[in-house]
Each structure stands twice: as structure tokens, then as C-alpha cells.
């Protein structure tokens, strides 16, 4: 790979031990994957935040970097943590878990990373532009930024994203190059997508089928950003889809080459099959919405549904701290809490220790959460639309 004089000096230790070590990591990755040079990144999102995910070795790795004075050079946000960073006691998160989680947050903060903890950085103040090079590392956020915004990121691992933040650069390969953003399969959607969960079911089915291909969707007549967020998240979880195009809806769809692609048709039968596959439980002990983190529009529909009602079961709506602030101000939080529900910020059901909190069956409207909960959190899953889940909890 071509390195500038300045970059060579970094490898000789001119900017200190930490920058040298982190730069060496991304130069090695760039060499392996055939990058021609380093390119500057506009922003970073770092995964590997929950103590449940990274455990003691990961925590010590971050604390060591922080102690050696590591600082990020660009706007850097975090993936969800393992708990609500403000209301963890009230929500009954275990105390020893909380202590370790707070050590991790302290290390990140001292590196100048914004303590946001969300899988929807684009809704919380980290919004890349079309064609901007970024280094993000949560799979649904990667999918949304590549596909819906048209920014350019590879599927970064936690440490390689952190290295990009500390160096302000990433190697130029993979999805940073236009030729690698062309669709490799066409998905013809012949099913009606009516409910929120239909997009998750479609994404789950397609991801399983196509693994890491780049799909070009036709037949999706309309979808708002919440529905696209659900679709992309499910495809990234059941497969490894990091980029998709939707005819008429996403910004690169008109620009890419889409002739003579292999085509898969999706009818109501395949969508129903996905619902059946994802439903492994009968009665949920808890309903958790907001995977990926709920937008303000999604929170307001929950509030509308719960206004003046009383829940028989716990309901969590997971979101970013920024969306929660707006929900507080609009009175949505108050409505949801009066009904017996909670808005939980900074975390989500997949990375929090819900299996240690006494829950065995979780109701979700997310194809991504339904995919991960049985393995990561030992949960049975009831997968349905938000309306159905909330009606059953009243």
C-alpha cells in the first residue's frame, strides 16, 4: 500500500506508541485486503461497548489505550452499552455488571469518544453525507449508512473502527470503491408489506438466502426510514448484508448496474415462512421494542397505543439518549411509564443481560432481535407487529 511521508512517520512512532500500534493494525488490514492507500474518514462508530460482549480482556484493552493517552481525531459515537447508563438501578440491572460497564464508558470518554451508545447514530447527531467515507461497526448502522444514506463503510470490527478513529483514516478497499457497490442479486418482492414486522420478516428471509451478497430490491412500493432500518438490520443479522439497493427509494439504486442479475421472487408464502421460523415462544414475559433503536416516530406510536391503558407485562422501548430526551419533552415517556412501560436508553435487549433478569420469553417486532435472542440471551421469541404485541400485553 502507498503511504505518505507523514504516515510512514506514524509507523516510526512520531505520534506516540498508541497511534503507531493502531495505525499498524489498519495498515496490516489494508495490505491483506489489497487497499492502494489510506483515506480520511468523516466519522466513526465503535462496536464492542457492552461488558457482556467484551468482558474483562476487552475492558482492560480499552483502559490500557486510555491510560496511554489515546485520543480520537474524528467524530466518534458508540454502539449500545449493556445497560441504561442513567436508570440502571431503577431497571434492576445487576450492580457488579454496572460497575464494569461504567469502567468501559470512562475509558471511551477519556479518548474523546461521544458517550452516545446507540445503533442509530444517524438519528442521534452523527449523520454522514452521500459518498462520505466512514468507518462504522454495528451491522445495522453499517447497512443503513451504506444503503439508505449512500455513505461508504466496510464492516469494521470493534478494534479496527477504534483504530480508524484514533488515526482519522481507513484503508481504501471493499465498499469504499464504487465497483464493489454493484448489486449481485435481484430480489423481486411480490408480497404486501403492511406491518412494521413484515420488513423484519422479509429481511430475515432474504439475509438467510443471500448471505453476503448485495441485493437490488424491486417491488417495494414505499418504505419510510424506520422500515428500511428494520429491513437492513434483519438482513445484516441473518446474513452478512452490508449494502442493499431499493428501486426508487435508495440513492444509489439508479446509478448501479443491474442488468442480467440472478433473481429471487419473494411472495407472501416466504414472508409467512419467516414469521413461523422466528416464533419459538408462546406467551412473552416481556415485550421489547426498539431494535434497532426506536425513532421518535416509533416512540410516539407506542405512546399513542398505551395512552390511558394499563400493561399486564413489562414493555421496554429501547432508544438513544437523544430520542429519549425528545420523548420526555413531548410527554411520551410519561404516557408510557403511567401505563407501566419503560423507555430504556443506551442499551438493547441483545447486549443487556436479560437472561440474568428472570426473563425467558421475549416479544419483539424486530427480525434482527428475533434472530439473535435465542442464542445470545437464551430467550424464546414471539415475533409480531408492535400493535399485536402491545394489544396482547394490555
Amino acid at each position: 500500500m502507498y503511504l505518505t511521508k507523514e504516515e510512514e512517520h506514524i509507523l516510526q512512532g512520531e505520534q506516540g506508541e498508541v497511534v503507531e500500534r493502531m495505525f499498524r493494525l489498519i495498515v496490516q488490514l489494508g495490505d491483506i485486503y489489497g487497499a492502494d492507500k489510506m483515506i480520511p474518514v468523516g466519522s466513526v462508530q465503535v462496536a464492542g461497548v457492552s461488558y457482556k460482549s467484551i468482558a474483562d480482556p476487552g475492558t482492560e484493552f480499552l483502559e490500557d489505550l486510555a491510560a496511554k493517552g489515546a485520543k480520537v481525531k474524528v467524530l466518534t459515537f458508540l454502539n449500545p452499552a449493556g445497560m441504561d447508563l442513567e436508570n440502571w438501578e431503577k431497571l434492576k440491572f445487576p450492580k457488579d455488571f454496572a460497575a464494569n460497564q461504567l469502567r468501559i464508558m470512562k475509558a471511551f470518554k477519556s479518548m474523546g469518544i461521544v458517550i452516545t451508545a446507540t445503533c442509530t447514530p444517524y438519528l442521534a447527531g452523527n449523520l454522514p453525507r452521500f459518498r462520505e467515507h466512514i468507518a462504522w461497526s454495528e451491522s445495522s448502522a453499517i447497512s443503513f449508512s451504506n444503503s439508505v444514506i449512500g455513505a461508504r463503510t466496510n464492516r469494521e470490527g470493534g478494534p479496527s473502527a477504534l483504530a480508524a478513529a484514533i488515526c482519522g483514516k481507513t484503508p481504501n478497499y471493499g465498499f469504499h470503491l464504487w465497483e464493489n457497490r454493484q448489486p449481485t442479486i435481484k430480489i423481486k418482492v411480490e408480497a404486501d408489506l403492511t406491518f412494521d414486522a413484515d420488513f423484519g420478516a422479509l429481511g430475515y428471509y432474504v439475509g438467510k438466502q443471500i448471505k453476503n451478497k448485495i441485493p437490488y430490491f424491486v417491488g417495494i412500493k414505499n418504505a419510510d426510514t424506520d422500515q428500511l432500518k428494520a429491513l437492513g438490520a434483519a438482513m445484516a443479522a441473518s446474513g452478512a448484508v452490508a449494502l442493499y439497493h431499493v428501486e426508487g427509494l435508495t440513492p444509489e439504486a439508479d446509478l448501479v448496474k443491474k442488468d442480467s442479475l440472478e433473481t429471487i421472487a419473494i411472495t407472501k408464502k416466504e414472508v409467512d415462512e419467516a414469521y413461523a421460523k422466528l416464533n419459538t415462544g408462546k406467551e412473552p414475559d416481556i415485550v421489547i421494542l426498539g431494535c434497532p433503536h426506536a425513532s421518535l416516530r416509533e416512540i410516539s406510536s407506542v405512546a399513542e397505543k398505551l395512552k390511558g391503558k394499563h400493561l399486564k407485562k413489562p414493555v421496554w422501548v429501547c432508544t438513544s439518549r437523544m430520542m429519549k430526551e425528545a420523548a420526555d419533552r413531548m410527554g411520551y415517556t410519561d404516557i408510557i411509564e403511567k401505563a407501566g412501560g419503560q423507555i430504556v436508553a443506551d442499551t438493547c435487549m441483545v447486549v443487556s443481560p436479560i437472561e440474568d433478569m428472570g426473563y425467558k420469553t421475549t416479544g419483539v417486532n424486530s427480525g434482527k432481535a428475533a434472530n439473535y435472542l435465542p442464542g445470545f440471551c437464551k430467550q424464546n421469541v414471539c415475533f409480531a407487529s408492535m400493535d399485536k404485541l402491545l394489544e396482547a400485553a394490555l
Binding site: Q28, L29, I32, Y33, S53, A55, S139, G157, G158, P159
Partner: protein
Amino acid sequence: MMKGRTISPGKVKGVALVSKEPIGFYGGINIKTGIVIEKGHPLEGKCVKDKILVFPCGKGSTVGSYVIYGLQKNGAAPKGIINKETETIVATGVILAAIPCVDKIDIDQIKDGDTVVLNADNATVEVAK
């Protein structure tokens, strides 16, 4: 002698533990013991510690890099890794943990229990006869 691509340098000799299926380190391997915990995985119940771990490619969560690093810190890591195709998550993990790793190897030539010499400095793999 097979020649591949260096992912992370170093030279080791050890016994091969071979999986025909991809490995997801996060949620797939116990970070303290090195025992494979993924339900239904061909290596379920086996321990990767001190083995030359051979598998086609990584899969799953981007947090897997930290699990590889953690295995090394806990003394439960494989001695070396041989892949058909190493993706970024495994590559990041082995570089950080300084575990020798080579990819672009025809892993069908390596049998479970074979003694293997992995020279990641030259990107070569040799099965001892």
C-alpha cells in the same frame, strides 16, 4: 507444503483442530476456557486452546475480534489459525492478539489431529507425515 497469504506473522507447530463450518467467536466460543459453545456446531464441546485451529472463514458479530484477543489474554487461545478466507473480524483479532495466521490455504488437505507446522512469516503450512 502449501503456500497462502500472511494475515498475522509468527511460526508455530501444533495439533490441528479442523472445522468444515465457519466459526463465530462471539457467542460461539467461551472466552475463559476456549471451549466451543455454539449449539449444533461440529466443534461443540471441543477446546481450541493450544491447537492449530483450521476453519474456512469467520461469521457473525463484529465483536468477535475482542473474543480472539480475550482468549489470548486468558491463556485459552489457539496457537495458530489457518483459514480458507480470513475476513476482517478474525484478521483484526489475530493481529491484536499476535496469533500467527495464514489464509488462502486448501484446508481439505489438513485432517483433524494432524501435526501442522504453520510458518506465517513465509505464509506456508506443512502437514508433518
